[in-house]
Symmetry: C2
Subunit: 116 residues, 2 copies
DNA sequence: CGTCTATATTGACACAGGCCGATATACGGT
DNA sequence: ACCGTATATCGGCCTGTGTCAATATAGACG
């Protein structure tokens, strides 16, 4: 049900040429997912954790929010294609998808001009 | 009234260490501003335009939206610190701020591991 | 000064989305 | 089978935001 694998692929630098409406729709999906303080912290925690993954149980405790709320945010990140989900026994581990990061990185590449 | 000059400065890579709540709040301001399909296209159009700037009159015509709506989106981008505004005669030109782009670029830097 | 054009502001509306409590599901241990 | 723990889903509330029509502001030009 992950929706934006296309978005992960389609990211030319913003400055390269005007985006089409469709591209913008795709990419904004990714960005909306990460443009939230809680989800930013979640991504940051997961990314900077050992192996780029973390257990939900650890993440819950780091916030002053209810467990369902954290679960909701993780779902948003997962559906956007930013996190992979893996269940190991009782626990669930979310893992950052490097492609997503590098897609964003490319999007904001400051190279106004490409060597063609 | 530009609010997030601090945000432009404070962007360590997401993967470097867990963000604080304050940092996340700052950065999410930037990302929220650009996480909209119309604003993405606006940024892209401005960035890929000659000199990294464009006249509002050109931007209005590129969308199927009312003039006040485009004006609103430009204001959001300006207040977030992503665009500079300059009035020349009757026309207003918005210009991309390179620091903003490179801040985002750094934020999503894919350097998971630092040589310690 | 009056008028035309370019851009911004205001007010209203509809919809999206963050949050919680309650509840459901799934798994491990006894 | 039962219970406790970990995570997800549901329903509802409330705030935030994208959009428009109407109006305001500001500059250019006669």
């Amino acid at each position: 049900m992950i929706q934006s694998d296309r978005a992960l692929a389609c990211c030319a630098p913003l400055a390269r040429e005007p985006m089409t409406a469709d591209q913008a729709e795709q990419v904004s999906g990714l960005l909306k997912a990460i443009a939230d303080p809680v989800r930013l912290r979640l991504m940051s925690m997961i990314l900077s954790h050992q192996g780029g993954e973390a257990c939900v149980c650890d993440l819950n405790d780091a916030f002053d929010l209810s467990q369902p709320t954290i679960s909701h945010h993780l779902k948003v990140l997962h559906q956007a294609g930013l996190l992979d989900r893996e269940k190991r026994g009782t626990w669930v581990y979310y893992k950052a998808k490097p492609e997503a990061l590098s897609a964003m990185n490319t999007l904001f590449a400051t190279a106004g001009r490409q060597p063609s």
